[in-house]
């Protein structure tokens, strides 16, 4: 097959691929080694998150992270991690890449596992002593795991 472009791409080194790829999939692909517990996560949360997201994930200037008082079929519905998010891996993926918003990329992977565990705990999905790592996180079953309809190329 002849190239339709000039072929200027440079082969990426395995080291670069490892450094650059931070995508974490529902099956756990992309999760790094490391671990952290919800109790450890509370420390991380108080140090790095509480200023924007408020105590226990509520009442801050930024998004609510826990504490839904209504279900998804109430009016108004209450969309939080606990009621709405389908995969726990998303929490790790997003927190590691984007949070804390004031200093993104500043947490270690252990800290990200820990604060992820803490947010799952706040949303009553795991217990206060539970820990998260590359094996346990993808095994978490989120309450709204089946809550989504794939709409791609459907017509409604």
């Amino acid at each position: 097959e002849e190239l339709i472009g000039p072929g200027l791409g440079i082969q990426a080194s395995p080291a670069m691929l490892k450094q650059w790829n931070r995508d974490v999939f529902p099956d756990g692909a992309g999760l790094p080694s490391g671990q952290g517990s919800a109790r450890e996560g509370e420390v991380v949360y108080r140090a790095h998150c509480i200023g924007c997201h408020g105590p226990e994930g509520r009442g801050g200037s930024a998004e609510e992270l826990a504490g839904a008082e209504h279900s998804l079929i109430d009016d108004p519905p209450d969309k939080t991690i606990g009621t709405y998010w389908p995969y726990a891996t998303t929490l790790f993926d997003f927190t590691r890449r984007s949070m804390p918003l004031s200093n993104p990329g500043s947490l270690t992977d252990d800290q990200v596992y820990a604060v992820t565990a803490y947010l799952l705990y706040l949303n009553r999905i795991i217990g206060p002593d539970d820990e998260m790592n590359a094996q346990l996180l993808p095994a978490v079953v989120m309450p709204n795991q089946d809550g989504f309809i794939d709409n791609y190329r459907r017509d409604d």
């Binding site: 990426a12 691929l17 974490v24 009016d75 519905p77 991690i81 918003l101 993104p104 309809i149």
Partner: protein, 399 residues
């Protein structure tokens, strides 16, 4: 009254100067300002801005709207293109920026910006609309604000870039690949999953916007253009394309940009921006101060293709007339519609509805709500109604 005042002014001027040399306005009596290397709008147009709504604790998190109520034609000046940033506008050094293509490819590759500038390019006029545009329409009371601060998370530019299919061919797509996870190089490093077939169909690695290189707030030095699909997919500051068998299930395709239905289930991967139209003149914030002929003017667009027809009603939807579409009518592009209208001072409700070439029609608000409930938040595309009182005052109404 303004007009009578005008005539009076000229009368006064003329008697003052009847025997003197020809009177000239002050700006004709002295040399004007010199040339400029890069221009800016007139000092008299300082009110024409994108209005900013950001988080006090996170000033780079929020949106700014295109003031559609101040604009005409279909091109949005780049300085007024809407912004949606998750964590501000990065100042990326183009010489240090790289695009990485990896995952289910035969050859993981990196490209510098100067490499990509040597690739074959295409241009197209295309809108980008945030999936959350017009979401004030879901509120139970009609929002009273100018069109731009209601529907202005949509803008239209001429984008030029490299077809994504060209660099994907170079990397060599493996058979199992069905999705591409795109990642931005800002402080949010936002990622999102795009179906591979769309990527191969018409997506561009955009390098130029309205003729010049991208603006920083629109992704300089490189953004993904995903024609007709919700804005969040048009990843700015693009640094990585990860070919995968499945979507990554990122925060912005699960927690956000999904539409909760009354059943409690949510529509996910709702990509296409459905047909929409809105009358921009006259609209909220304008006032009709005379009876007589007006030109109704507005914008229509559809992520599915070309606008086929726009109808306008001046009686709240009882009867409709077909508006003229400004040529050229292009797919996934703003289309300006216009229709003459005579106002004799009666109470009226103006509406517009868009039809696209696939047969999709802009719904009435009641139809949209019947289908999607009141809590979808994204993808609001219902017909907009402007009520005009006998005094010429214009408000947004639900009908």
């Amino acid at each position: 009254q303004g007009l009578i005042f005008t005539a009076a002014t000229w009368g006064a001027l003329s008697s003052q100067t009847a025997t003197a040399e020809l009177e000239r306005e002050s700006w004709t009596k002295q040399p004007g300002k010199p040339f400029s290397n890069y221009g800016a709008p007139s000092d008299y147009e300082k009110k024409v801005i994108r209005w900013i709504m950001a988080n006090d604790d996170a000033p780079g998190n929020g949106v700014s709207w295109t003031p559609l109520h101040e604009l005409e034609g279909i091109v949005t000046p780049s300085g007024l293109h809407f912004e949606r940033h998750h964590n501000g506008v990065p100042a990326i050094d183009p010489e240090r920026h790289r695009l990485l293509i990896h995952g289910l490819v035969k050859r993981p590759l990196t490209f510098s910006v100067s490499d990509l500038l040597q690739y074959p390019m295409q241009s197209r006029l295309c809108f980008i609309e945030c999936g959350g545009n017009s979401n004030a329409g879901w509120r139970s009371e009609p929002i009273q604000t100018q069109v731009g601060y209601f529907h202005g998370m949509a803008s239209c530019s001429e984008w030029t870039g490299v077809p994504l299919s060209v660099v994907l061919q170079e990397a060599g797509i493996k058979g199992r690949a069905k999705w591409i996870i795109a990642e931005g190089g800002d402080a949010s490093m936002m990622n999102i999953s795009l179906p591979l077939d769309k990527a191969l169909d018409d997506c561009l690695l955009a390098l130029y916007q309205n003729g010049e290189r991208l603006r920083a707030e629109n992704g300089y030095p490189l953004r993904l253009l995903v024609p007709g699909w919700e804005g969040v997919l048009n990843v700015k500051w693009l640094r990585r394309l990860h070919l995968a068998a499945k979507p990554v299930m990122a925060r912005n395709e699960t927690a956000k940009y999904t539409e909760l239905l009354p059943s409690g289930k949510a529509r996910q991967f709702s990509f296409v921006m459905e047909p929409k139209s809105v009358i921009t003149h006259p609209s909220f914030g304008h006032r009709l101060d005379r009876h007589g002929l007006y030109q109704i003017s507005g914008l229509a667009w559809s992520g599915r293709g070309k606008i086929a027809k726009v109808e306008v009603s001046a009686d709240g939807g009882k009867s409709w007339a077909e508006a003229e579409l400004q040529e050229p009518v292009l797919p996934q592009c703003f289309t300006r519609f216009r229709i003459p209208w005579r106002w004799q001072g009666q109470d009226v409700v103006l509406k517009s509805r868009a039809f696209d070439e696939t047969g999709a029609v802009q719904p009435e608000r009641s139809e949209l709500i019947a289908k999607r409930g009141r809590h979808g938040y994204f993808h609001y595309n219902a017909i907009v109604s402007w009520a005009i009182t006998e005094a010429g005052e214009i408000s947004h109404v639900y009908l």
